[in-house]
């Protein structure tokens, strides 16, 4: 039997979310007109989805939502529009992002850097704590916007979005936050935090990996450019299958929202038990334990063991970890943490999914003790 350890990248779609997509996924790819028709046909389902999403993220009144096939493309699209409005038109020249954002945000920022935009990447310490001082120092009136996630996807450490939002609100700098990792693990409140742009990815909520959502506060100047093909507050810009994916996202968000608290507690208990077992092993350091973290996520290092070797053994033992943990070619994780030498080649990040259980934890501990630990390199 294989144990699936979701680390926010390798997610298993929930069966309930898959079920509602079946009939729609059978619809062949159709024309632009056809897409409109299909959207109209499933209007009721989509409205229901939007309502669930609005409630889950506490979206402000009249907020706009845009759906895309994947989060990376959505981030590129958002940054492109912000570039037009905030850099070219508003004459700003700098953006600030968290140095360990997902690959979509990193690559979108890189595109802007090539165009001459100054990109400031805020780092974290070896315990995964966001460098708020460096962030404050970087803030000035040339900042076009700031992009900081709700939580670090690898260590699970919660980022200080509340403080960041307050600082930015004061300086009237737009704030984008990716809440994909945090969805279903902590409450998300777009209104209270006064977030201008919030993004979510379906797979992190255990929906099929084919939909991502951007929610924008009303009266934002970029809305007009972004919503070329909008229906009310739903903008579609892709294949017919997207409608199914969006509906699945809504269902997944509903489940996550209902289970928030109950499931989170269970995962926290399992995570803590896992950590306690890890701490019994000599040479293991838990990263981010001193900070508030997502209930299902943990990160650790084993002295002298490279994450490449550890990942090999986990995979060989039937413990499927996402590629974010490995050091392989074009790995977004390595690109993201390129600024942290200490963590670069040793950090292992794991996120438990609702399917994870004690047997899975035992299997990991066994693999570490029997296979991984003996490969440790002595200093």
């Amino acid at each position: 039997m294989e144990h699936y350890l979701d680390n926010n990248t390798l997610s298993i779609a929930d069966l309930q979310t898959l079920k509602i997509t079946e009939t729609m996924l059978a619809t062949p790819a159709i024309s632009h007109r056809g897409k409109r028709d299909l959207a109209q046909k499933h209007r009721a389902l989509l409205n229901e989805t939007i309502e669930k999403l609005v409630n889950t993220i506490q979206a402000p009144q009249e907020a706009k939502m845009l759906f895309e096939n994947d989060l990376q493309r959505l981030h590129h699209r958002l940054f492109e529009m912000l570039y037009r409005h905030r850099i070219l038109e508003a004459q700003k020249r700098k953006i600030i992002i968290y140095g360990r954002e997902s690959v979509g945000i990193q690559s979108a920022a890189l595109v802007l850097k090539r165009r001459g935009v100054e990109v400031v990447r805020i780092g974290c310490d070896a315990q995964g704590a966001f460098d708020l001082d460096a962030f404050k120092t970087s803030l000035d009136d040339t900042v076009a916007w700031v992009s900081v996630s709700h939580a670090d996807a690898f260590s699970g450490v919660l980022l200080p979005v509340e403080e960041i939002a307050a600082l930015l609100h004061e300086m009237q700098i737009p704030f984008h936050s990716d809440a994909s990792t945090a969805l279903g693990k902590i409450p998300i409140d777009m209104q209270r935090l006064d977030i201008d742009y919030l993004t979510l990815d379906a797979h992190a909520a255990y929906a099929p990996q084919a939909a991502a959502m951007l929610c924008i506060k009303a009266n934002d100047p970029i809305v007009e450019d972004l919503f070329v093909d909008a229906y009310g507050y739903v903008g579609f810009d892709a294949q017919a299958a997207d409608i199914a994916a969006v509906a699945a996202l809504g269902k997944a968000v509903e489940i996550a929202s209902d289970m928030l608290g109950f499931e989170t507690e269970e995962m926290r208990d399992l995570r803590d038990a896992f950590e306690a077992r890890l701490e019994e092993i000599e040479g293991v350091t838990i990263i981010g334990k001193a900070h508030a973290r997502l209930a299902n996520t943990l990160a650790f290092q084993i002295d002298g063991v490279s994450n490449a070797t550890a990942t090999h053994y986990f995979e060989a033992s039937g413990l499927l970890l996402a590629d974010a943990l490995t050091e392989r070619l074009h790995n977004p994780y390595i690109q993201a943490i390129g600024n942290d030498e200490k963590l670069r080649h040793t950090l292992l990040g794991i996120a438990l999914s609702p399917d994870s259980d004690e047997a899975c934890v035992e299997s990991m501990i066994e693999t570490i003790e029997e296979k991984i630990k003996p490969t440790a390199y002595k200093d």
Partner: protein, 309 residues
Amino acid sequence: MAYTHKIAHFSEKPINYGALDENDARNENGTLFTYRHKEPACGESVTLYWIVDDENKSIIRAKFESFGTFAARAVYDMMCMILRTKSIESIEKTIEYQGLERFIRDNPADPALPDEERYLITFAVEAAHKAAASYLAQEHKTETIVCKCHCVSKETIEEAIRKHDLKDIAAIGDFTRAGRGCRSCIDRDSGFEKRDIYLVEILSQTREVIEKEKKESAVDDDTPFEALEVPQKIAYINRIVDEHIRHFLVMDGGDMEILDIKENGPNTDIYIRYLGACSGCASSSTGTLFAIENILKEKLGPNVRVLPL
């Protein structure tokens, strides 16, 4: 990742894994020499332990400890096997990429490692060469680090481009791992950090030199062999060796190089040196030598003589 049987087996159960100490050295009547190549911050690091016969400057026993990719353990393990009995002075010639790569293949026709992990062999060879230089107290050449994520130097990259005739950035990554981290060293636009020198610049400069050298030593097929200059003759013979001889040698973990060519009366004497497993092999002065000589005679003329040094 699915590895070949040899890689999977020797990575899981390497024969030469572990440290050697002074007691081991005394027991084997040698002295202990250790060399650490790179640090864990580079993603790969290896410590080589050699028990050395100081009189002959040869390796009695070799072991290793490593940090990094799973498959690297098999590469170091195989290298330690080859290193036994080798003279340290000859390591620069006997441990080289092609020989080691062939030695760790399961099947002569299938590469030992997936493309993106070929850098492990480059890394192991570099470790052995530097360890040998360190033992012989040779001065370390100053290196300019280009890829900071994996600590890959300009010198390593240039050598890989030359040795493997690399023509693009992806191939440089395969053979050295440079540019496979934050990507800032690829070119000015690929990453967030600034660098003094970029891979694209090293590639274009090195390619320019290679092309220039190729032109200078180009062999005109219409010119008789006897009328060629010595560098052209060597290039010509190397071409024959590449096409007809080398693949047989590297299949057994060996190789050869042309050292010189001299006209000796009616004969053309070709001086060669065996590399890798061929060096010290019993057949290298009999069957293998006759086979090489016969092929060269057939291609160049009956007066060719092959003299191994």
